[in-house]
């Protein structure tokens, strides 16, 4: 690869540090310093509804703190993670006008923070996103829809967005692939968690087998429930393991090529940096060698199952990613 074509820049999201932030061990400012110290940059992504108290708005003090912290650590703003909270009212979904306004404030916050990308969710739908494109252009913030499991590049909701993108043809609309959509196996922390919950091993094995089946999301969860019930599993056991279907997809990595020109940010989701389940060895060269220009945020999500800090996992993943990008893949189990 020539240097010129290598437009993939590494970074992390402060979401990786969810445990230590929630435990009040570090402020946002201290976490940015940590990203700098640990060499996890240059990209810094944050979740508005986590990092910023006054979100969807943002105070001038926060903006100044954020910009100063990035500058002294030689880091760069990469992405504001927004939320498409269409169901904040329990009685009805937001109207498209309400959803537009909800996003407008968030995108204005992204612009104040200097974020080149603001990420939202598939649930927002094509109509609102098409309306947001001119706002993104005016504020110079690209709006990206996260392609998170159970969505895939070819699931119906995503096809509807791709059709709209083709019509609107705006460089301010794009996608944010999440690597959780293309894992090759269920990471061990999920299985450990199910065992800790006391779910019988035979039910766990049925879930793992059903997860591996081909077919649509609906077909696979149908098979999962049918097989578990036939084996005698109850609703609570079936419900507890449902997360492997919603959080982990097994789309082939090469399917991302279908939307490659529209990829504007990447979530490098992982659970154990030494585990092969998320195929970084295949994914990183795929994006790097097919014209991707932008950041990849490492996104450690095993904090869902542990109170541990993220530091050692992030260091290990970034070392692995640097080896891969240098053409020297490490052995992973």
């Amino acid at each position: 690869m020539t240097e010129q074509a290598s437009g993939l820049r590494l970074g992390t999201t402060l979401f990786s540090f969810t445990n230590e932030f929630h435990a009040r061990k570090y402020t946002v400012e201290q976490l940015i310093d940590k990203v700098g110290e640990l060499g996890l940059g240059p990209g810094v992504e944050l979740i508005g509804f986590s990092a910023i108290r006054e979100y969807p708005g943002v105070s001038d003090e926060f903006v100044q703190m954020f910009r100063d912290a990035l500058e002294r650590n030689h880091l760069e703003p990469s992405c504001l993670s927004m939320n498409g909270d269409v169901m904040i009212r329990r009685t009805r979904p937001m109207t498209n006008d309400e959803s537009y306004e909800y996003h407008r404030t968030q995108i204005e916050t992204a612009a104040k923070l200097g974020m080149p990308v603001a990420k939202t969710q598939v649930i927002v739908g094509p109509e609102v996103l098409a309306r947001l494109a001119p706002l993104g252009e005016r504020l110079n913030v690209k709006i990206g829809v996260e392609l998170h499991s159970p969505e895939r590049v070819d699931s119906p909701n995503v096809i509807a967005l791709r059709e709209m993108y083709a019509k609107v043809d705006s460089p301010y609309l794009g996608f944010v692939p999440d690597f959780g959509a293309c894992v090759t196996a269920v990471p061990h922390c999920f299985v450990d968690h199910f065992r800790e919950l006391g779910i019988p091993e035979k039910f766990i094995q049925i879930a793992l087998e059903a997860w591996s089946l081909t077919g649509t999301f609906g077909e696979r969860i149908g098979q999962y429930q049918e097989r578990e019930r036939a084996a005698g599993a109850g609703d609570s056991e079936i419900g507890a393991m449902f997360m492997i279907f919603s959080m982990l997809g097994h789309q082939e990595p090469r399917k991302w090529l279908e939307i490659m020109p529209q990829v504007i940010h990447i979530h490098g989701k992982f659970y154990d940096a030494k585990e092969a389940a998320v195929p970084f060895e295949e994914l990183l060269p795929l994006f790097r060698d097919n014209g991707y220009q932008g950041y990849l945020s490492s996104e450690w999500e095993a904090h869902a199952f542990t109170d541990d800090d993220a530091e050692s996992e992030l260091l290990a993943l970034h070392e692995r990613m640097r080896h891969i990008l240098a053409g020297d893949p490490q052995a992973v189990r």
Binding site: S50, R53, I123, S246, H303
Partner: protein, 124 residues
Amino acid sequence: MKSWFVENNALHAAQGGFDLEIRLPWYRSLPLSVIDFGELRINGAKIDPTAIKFNVNGKDCGLSELPNLWEESWYVLDSAYLRIPYPAVKRGEQYQVEVTIILHPPYVPKVFFPVSYKKAMQAN
């Protein structure tokens, strides 16, 4: 996030009962409208849910009011309190506390996440 919901030393003796200090067991702030509570038991006895108050941002509300409060948020770094009526609470005494919170993240319709806690706690 394994043990985020109820922290150690979170059972505070208060006027007419307890203030149970809780944290939001989620990675981001949520509007109060997407938060429910399941059964709350002290020493095995169910507490009348209509007598429990939820307190965050310095304001009290009844549990049944939560679904309407979509403009009020619980920020991830803030503690909230369940104000639980209970007779003759004594500091230093152990109480068995059982509480469940149910989160309905507003970006994933029809999916909810219950988080339960059951432990003997010393009132302070």
